[in-house]
Every structure is written in C-alpha cells, then in structure tokens.
Symmetry: C2
Subunit: 298 residues, 2 copies
C-alpha cells in the first residue's frame, strides 16, 4: 500500500476511534445501583486504549452501504462491549491467565477475579441493552441482536474459546486451528460488518459480500497476531509476547512456519478486497483497513 | 390458603415447569461448533431441577393479560437462561464458592472453573438470541430485550451481586439489604412479569401493577429464602443451609429477627396480591403463586 493511502487511513481510523471512545464513555456513565469498584473495573477495561477494530468495521460497513456512520454508532459500541467482555473473561486465571491487556493491568489483576467476572458479565448485558434501546427500525434491531448473540454464544465466541483452552494440550491440525479462530475471532468480525450493513440497509448480495470480507480479514488478522507473538513484538500486540509458544498453544506459524503464514495472510487479504466489488468506490476505507492488517506485520 | 387451592396451584405449576423444561432442552440442542464439555455443562445447569419461578411468572403474566401462554414461552426460557447464568457465576470459587446447586454439584464443581464461566457466558448470550429470534412484533421484542438486559446488568443483577459480596464484610442496614435484593433478585422477578405482560399486550396500568406485584413478591421470596437458610431447611432450599450465618452474610432474620421477618413477608405478599386488582379474575394463578411463596416457610 502506498504510504499516502496508509497515512490517510490512519488519520481516518484515529478519528473514528476517538468518536467510538467518546460514545463508549457515555454508555457506562451509570446512575446509582452500580457499585463504585464495579464501575471502575468496567471503565478500566472498556476505555483502555484499543484498536477499536470491530466498532470501526461496523461504522465502515454502514458507510459502504451509503448510510451516515452516526446511525450505527450504538451498534459499534455494542460490539466493542462484547469484545471487551470476552477479553476480560479470557484473561482470567482459570482461562489464559494474562496479567496485562492493552498495555495496562488486565481487569482481574487490577480489581480482583470476582469483580472482573462481574464487569465482563455487565458489559455483555449492556451490549444488548444499547442495541435494543438505540437502534431502529425494530426489525433491524432484532436481526442485529440475534446475530450479535449468536456471534457471542456457545457455537461461536464462547465455543471457540473453550476449544482454544483444550487446544493448548492437543496436537491439532490446520483445519482445527481455523475452526477455533473462525469462531473465537472471526464470528465477531464478520458479525460487526453484517450489523453495520444491516443498519445501512444492505441488500442480501451486499450482506454476503461483507460476510466474506469479514471472514477473510478475521482469519488474516489472527495469522498476523500469531506472527507478532512469535516474533515478540509486544508494542504492536499490547500484551506480553512469546506466550503462545511457552504454553504449547496451537498457532499458524507453529503449524505452517513463518513464511507460509505470511503468504496465507496476503492471499486472504486479496480475497477480502475482491469481495468488496458490490460496493464500488464506497468500500475504499474497508479496503484500506484490510491492507493495513498486513502492514501491522512489517 | 385452603389446601385445595394449594394443590391446584401445585398441579398447574408442575405442568408449566414441565413445558418450560421441554422448551429449554430444545434451545440448547446446539449444532456443531459447541464443544462437548461446554454443551454438557450448559445442559447440567440449565436442566437441573429448578422451581422455574421466573419463567412461570412470564407465562402467568401473559395469561393475566388474556394472551395464550405459548406465545410467551421463548421469553420464559430466556429469563431462565439469565437466571441460570447468574447462579453458575455466583457459585464460582471467587464469588460465593458453592459446590452444590439445585441438589446437584454446581457447574464448576462438575466441569471446572473455566468451563463454568463459559457456560454462564453462553447462556447469557443465548437468552438474547432466543428473545430476538422468537418474539414478535419487533417493537415488543426490543422492549423485552432492553428490559432483560437492564435487569441483568451493572445497576441490577450484577451490581446487586457485587454489593452482596462486599456485604459479607460490612455491618449493613435494612435499607442496604433491601437495595441489594431489589437488584440481585427483585429486578429479574419484576422484569419477568413485565416481559410476560408486554408480550400479552398489557396496558401501562397493567404493566405498573405487574411491576409492583413483582417487587413485593421478589422481596418476600428473599426474606423466606433467608428464613429457610437460618432454619437449615436444605431440602426446600436445594443447597446447603446455614452458610449465610457462617459467612456473616447480611440477612433479614439476622437484622430483624425471625418473627419480624415472617411478619414482613406476610405483609409483602398481601400488598402483592392487592396490586393485581386491574386483572380481575385472570390473575388467580399469580395470586396463588404469591400465597405459595409464604407456604414454603411452613
């Protein structure tokens, strides 16, 4: 990607990230009833500096369908709430046992295990409250709630995490690894795009295109994440690197080697960009984002 | 309550419980993507023998509004999923550390902490998936989703649990104890009634009546639960008794004494029944249920 395109994409995504952060902060300004430790824990994790990849995908998918991005902002916040809840629970001692997240102490490291479990629970519930309260027309809201719940549920995010925990102790194949990531990371990514598309009034053809784009980008994103961990790039990762190998965790570089993993990531991004054809010029930002996923690895 | 009324109520609620259990089992018959340990853990907790109080309240509230109970069944299942998720997480070692629930090993005792956390997470998400998929018209669905999410969230169920954990180490007052229970138990109970009412087409006056009934019954239910624990009635409780006192937990008998707690429970149930006036004869089952909450203590 030319460096001018990169810098333009970085500028746009920084603006979107700022808008998302401001909206997120408003949604967790609870009235009384939320104990102060719980409120602080939710704030600590939700407002920690993140890439905001999923909310940005919601907003850009809505834009690609010709819709004002602001209309999709509540849904963008909802997907970030679900993502943050999953990070809080994944980091727990009984799960991945990570003490650092997004460059800060993880939620349980800062507030204790009980509060961290509850902060995650509260964020998962809040995501549906925001969607159901703020997105209209109601038929679209119902589709968005059902798809977000499915992406967060036993056959997607939660199921992928459960298999990922087991995979630390198994040999594993490429298809098993892809199945874990399509559920653990992929589902939330393509669902973010579909939700943005639905709010933007996407046709069925456009929804299918967003779905394909999301599945390819999601998998590429995970391959790159594994590469960054293998190389020990803690700054880009925002968490300690090299842990995958120490745990004997199933990874793409571990199964395919570094070069083949890089080649696959490149192919996936090419396929993702080709899927955007039905949107014409309006998908420029989504294309730039896909190309940038590769850039993270350089 | 006359013993004929009691036996009629018990017969009806056993039928409803059976219908709820059958519907719950259908919703967790996941297709592939859900690892088998996770599926077993969800099944273990969701289908354990429970009173099904909240789903029965959904169904009876819909009936009181003149609606066929079957139309509210998906919502009845959704509230039971949220309730079961909260029991699984409350039982965790980092929270209340309970090894027995509903007469069976608690979820983490049977399947480990990581799987129990994930089983709870999956049930919370599934509740919204079922509501959003199965309840129509869509405007009603949105109100039901938003109210259920609020009842499960940081200012209600989760906030109440967070304060309850702290309350084990504080002196506490009656108003603090009531505030904990109105969030931890009460919110899900009056929300179950409101959701059933909304699906049944309740007027605003009827919704307010269901809300009042729910708040009174919910608090009475908690007072009785504390009394059963204080008396050591493990069979009615379905879990080990006497734990509240051992932990120095804030309870109604601890604050008010046994007699005054009993008197309050009776007054709350009387108020609950009076609130049902706008429904006339159609609220007979709700009234019988309220009276039966007191019976548990005899």
């Amino acid at each position: 990607m030319a460096s001018e395109e990169t810098s333009q994409f970085l500028k746009q995504s920084a603006q979107l990230r700022e808008a998302v952060d401001a909206a997120l902060a408003r949604y967790i300004d609870f009235d009384k009833g939320c104990p102060s430790q719980l409120r602080k824990a939710i704030r600590h994790s939700l407002l920690a500096p993140g890439k905001r990849l999923r909310p940005i995908l919601v907003l850009l998918a809505a834009e690609a369908c010709g819709c004002d991005k602001g209309r999709a902002m509540p849904a963008a916040c909802a997907v970030e709430m679900v993502h943050t809840y999953s990070l809080i629970h994944d980091d727990l001692p009984a799960m991945d046992d990570d003490d650092v997240r997004r460059g800060l102490p993880s939620c349980h490291a800062a507030y204790g295990v009980a509060t961290a479990i509850l902060a995650g629970d509260a964020l998962l519930a809040l995501a549906f409250q925001v969607l159901a309260d703020q997105i209209r027309p109601a038929e679209i809201t119902c589709r968005c709630c059902a798809e977000l719940a499915a992406a967060a549920g036993a056959t997607a995010l939660v199921g992928g995490q459960a298999d990922d925990l087991l995979a630390e102790r198994t040999e594993g194949t490429l298809s098993h690894l892809e199945s874990i990531h399509s559920r653990k990371t992929g589902a939330m990514i393509y669902t973010s795009l579909r939700i943005g598309g639905r709010i933007g009034g996407a046709s069925n053809e456009q929804l299918a295109a967003l779905d394909t784009y999301g599945r390819r980008v999601g998998l590429a994103f995970q391959v790159i994440d594994d590469l960054l961990d293998a190389r020990g790039d803690e700054q880009v990762l925002g968490k300690p690197a090299g842990k995958d190998q120490k745990r004997g965790k199933l990874t793409f570089p571990g199964l395919l080697g570094i070069e083949e993993s890089e080649r696959r990531a490149g192919l996936l991004i090419d396929e993702a960009c080709r899927a955007l054809a039905p949107f014409g010029d309006r998908a420029g930002s989504l294309e730039a984002l896909a190309r940038y996923v590769l850039e993270r690895n350089r």
